[in-house]
């Protein structure tokens, strides 16, 4: 077991990206919570208000980036947790496929939602 450590995988990029997205998410998640629970109460949210916010390009872009980074951070976090648990072989392969698919699905659906909210017709 000890001898076959390969010298090809240098997967530091996932570690780094997890940190970079974390730094971004800390700010945006706090902003998101603050805006939609304290500035606007969650109960008072209507479609009109949502559309108004999402029509702003900066807000739209931020929210979309929020979606993508949160998806990566979450899915990668789950994967890390599984690897720490010691999954390997087929199990690991399956986890990778499932998680990548779930992440992709979430981003696609999230983008569709964002587009609908902003009222952009494609």
């Amino acid at each position: 077991m000890a001898r076959h450590y390969s010298s090809f995988d240098r997967r530091g990029w996932r570690w780094l990206l997890q940190r970079v997205t974390a730094a971004f998410l800390v700010v945006v998640l706090a902003f998101h919570f603050f805006l939609l629970h304290f500035v606007h109460h969650a109960a008072d949210i209507t479609f009109a208000g949502t559309r108004f916010r999402m029509s702003n390009l900066g807000y739209f872009a931020t929210m979309w980036l929020f979606l993508v980074t949160a998806t990566f951070h979450g899915v990668n976090g789950v994967y890390n947790a599984l690897v720490n648990q010691g999954i390997a072989g087929t199990q690991k392969r399956v986890a990778q496929v499932v998680l990548v698919a779930a992440g992709a699905l979430l981003v696609v659906q999230g983008t569709r939602v964002a587009v609908a909210m902003a009222g952009i017709s494609i």
Partner: protein, 132 residues
């Protein structure tokens, strides 16, 4: 050890009373992480009603917000998010090699702050419940 001898309570979580700060921070961070990623999927699913149109969207959101369970769970979500944010900042500092000696204190600080922020926000989260 592939086939390690099971010593019952000697192993892992049977020892939770002997966990140190860093281990608790990890357990909580992982737990809150699972909750948040689960919520992310649920969140997008609920917001997907926006594709159906304004009426469905408004009805769904307001219907959910009128439930006490949802409000309580939202407070829980806030607690989870705040802890994940605060402990996440602690971990970023640890990754940068800053303040490693104070890692236990910064964990306790995250906990206390999370508690304080959560308690302080309860009125905001329950506001307008029932009355509309």
């Amino acid at each position: 050890m592939s086939q390690r001898y099971d010593r019952g309570s000697v192993e892992d979580f049977g020892r939770w009373t002997e966990f140190s700060a860093g281990m608790w921070a990890w357990v909580f961070h992982k737990f809150t992480g699972w909750v948040l990623v689960g919520y992310l999927f649920a969140h997008i699913a609920v917001l997907s009603t926006a594709i159906e149109g304004a009426a469905t969207y408004n009805a769904t959101l307001q219907g959910l917000e009128s439930l006490l369970v949802v409000r309580v769970m939202e407070v829980g979500l806030l607690a989870v998010a705040v802890f994940h944010i605060l402990n996440g900042m602690r971990l970023l500092l640890v990754d940068l090699g800053v303040g490693l000696e104070a890692q236990d204190k910064s964990f306790y600080a995250s906990l206390v702050l999370t508690g304080a922020i959560t308690v302080a926000s309860v009125p905001t989260f329950l506001a307008g419940l029932g009355g509309g």
